[in-house]
Amino acid sequence: MAGNAPPRRISASKLFGILAAIFVLIFSAVVALLALDQHQVRATAERLQEETVPEIIRYQRLARNLDQLNHEGERVFSASSPEERQQALFLIMLVASHPSILEHPKAAAIAHDAERFLGETSRLSKSDPTVLKARQPEWMRLSKRIHLLVDDISVQGANLATVDLDHMADTMRTAGLKLLGALFVVGGFILLLFLLLRKYLIRPLQRIDHALSSLDVEAAAPEFPHTRLSEILAVEDATVQLYKAMIGSEAARRELELLANRDGLTGLLNRRHFMLNAATEIARAKRYGHPVAVALGDLDFFKRLNDTYGHGAGDVVLRTFANMLATSVRHSDLVCRYGGEEFAFLFPESTVDQAHVLVERFRQHLAETDIRLADGLLVRITLSIGLADASHVTLETALQHADHALYEAKRLGRNRVIVAPAAE
């Protein structure tokens, strides 16, 4: 045991404070990551709104303007008069001059080609109307190029939104995974916290509760397994100290009880305690109709012994007789030092005859016993006993009967047992 160093103590508030700080850090990091994603989504949405959508609109306008160019080109060929053809040509020039077409190289080139071709066609058709039919196939090829460009531009415009939306969807997907991760982290941390709380706080507190609720002087001292939390250790120590204090109190109580109930010289019950217990026993016997007997014994010529050998010799004789009684009576029998050299007995569940056998045995045993005094001298002493039935009378009456019988025993020569006559 000496080799086992006690585990280092940790403060619960410090431990859980550190855990809380770690949790806050981890959670803050997760929140920061999510905030980053949210920022990206917001930035993408803003870009979509402020840049991409206007750009898409720009592409749509360009496509529409090219469509318009194509439409007016058709009008050049289908016009019913040179004036109408000229108006269509002016519109072609207007559309071809629009900045949306000028800033798009492919659109600018094709618009320039269309304007030049249609202008030339319009001019030539003034002198030769058959030119229109002759140049129609070339216009169809040019018109097809314009159509293809319109399609390309429309697709490009649509793709602009797709790129941003894909990016936003990716970010949202990542954010979703992070959120799931955060859920696991938080869940894991709460589980860990619960396990730690259970191991280091709840279980020890349950053990302490159990120890406190079953704390008893008759039970063994409470024992607790090693724990590291200083607060729990303090409560466990306090519980053990409480147990020790209870044990101390119980010992003191027993000591006091002994002093209050026992005779100081002989260790037998004192008269007050005997009277209390005997009255209870007699009441119980009457209640159940069981027999009970009482006896009063007195050491013969005890005063002469004291006068001859001194009070110390008397004390030795009294202690010796008390020890003899303590080893001879039944566990249920009550014996007390009634006063001086006088002793009282109560025999529960015993008839007078059964009690007579017992007290006769005491008398005979004492009469045959050599008692060694302090100076080595051996003395013998006899005992007179008055016995009475207590089954149907009060304790006082029974003792009175026993006392009369004892008197009779003394009168008839001592060292004998006299049974009081049965009460009328």
Partner: protein, 279 residues
């Protein structure tokens, strides 16, 4: 009695204050909603007509119709009572600056220099510039220059432009280097008059104005010459112009423009007056 008098007086004071505040609010609103609007004209006759009795066939009547309807729609949407004045382009910017006009509409291009002096609404439409001239003149200059006529390579020519416009500004900037003679005219129609009177070889005009003129009876015999240009300050976005300090008015005008575009009013106005909806 002693208790009731102060209560009654307090109520009267509150009521009087509320009335004064409401009156002040109504006055301020009424004052704020009185706007003076300048709309550019394309022909000198439109100044004297002031928006009435302008024949549909008059030069620039279609563009004036667009401007007139758009501005009236903007005024209606911002709950403003607008007094419209039809003025040459050169009067719009100084008029805004001096406080004569609150709003100006006239294909005003947004340039860095103008941005220092004025506030601009959101986009109305985009514009570029293009030369207008007689086909014979164009062929003559192409032969002389040895290449098709282009505004950025044109030399030794007399070119008319609207006074105060970016086109005039451009011509003055390159005039000396390219030996060009810049002729300022009050309105686009007068640049065509200059061509017809042989006071100018070409006119440099915004494309819509150029188209409006050459497609009208006023300018028969003239057409676009060379490609359009949108750089050198000759093309970009056009806007309604305001004073820089009229921030709330600008926001209100922008909201109105957005609404007009969103509900299709812009397209309808354009289609009513113009064959194509180029914005």
């Amino acid at each position: 009695m002693n208790l009731r008098l102060p209560t009654l007086r307090a109520h009267l004071v509150v009521a009087a204050r509320s009335l004064v505040a409401a009156a002040a609010l109504i006055c301020s609103l009424a004052h704020a909603l009185e706007l003076s609007v300048a709309i550019v004209v394309y022909d000198p006759a439109q100044v004297s007509a002031q928006g009435t009795r302008v024949p549909v066939s008059a030069p620039g009547a279609d563009l004036m119709g667009v401007a007139d309807e758009l501005m009236r729609e903007v005024c209606r949407r911002i709950n403003a009572r607008c007094h419209i004045a039809y003025v040459p382009f050169a009067e719009i910017l100084p008029g805004i600056e001096s406080g004569r006009f609150d709003l100006g509409f006239g294909e005003v291009l947004r340039t860095p220099d103008r941005e220092k002096r004025f506030a601009f609404s959101d986009l109305i439409w985009r514009s570029s510039s293009r030369l207008v001239g007689a086909p014979a003149t164009a062929r003559e200059f192409a032969a002389r220059l040895g290449q098709p006529v282009r505004i950025d390579t044109l030399r030794d020519a007399r070119v008319a432009a609207v006074a105060g416009s970016q086109q005039q500004d451009y011509l003055e900037r390159v005039a000396e280097r390219r030996k060009l003679t810049a002729l300022a005219a009050a309105t686009p129609a007068e640049t065509i008059d200059a061509l017809r009177d042989n006071r100018a070889d070409f006119a440099l005009l915004p494309i819509r104005a150029g188209y409006s003129l050459i497609s009208s009876e006023h300018s028969v015999g003239f057409e676009f010459v060379g490609p359009a240009v949108a750089d050198h300050g000759l093309g970009d976005t056009t806007h309604i112009v305001l004073r820089k300090q009229d921030r709330k008015l600008r926001l209100a005008v922008n909201r109105a423009i957005a609404e007009i575009r969103a509900d299709g009013t812009f397209q309808r106005i354009m289609q009513r007056h113009f064959p194509v909806s180029l914005d």
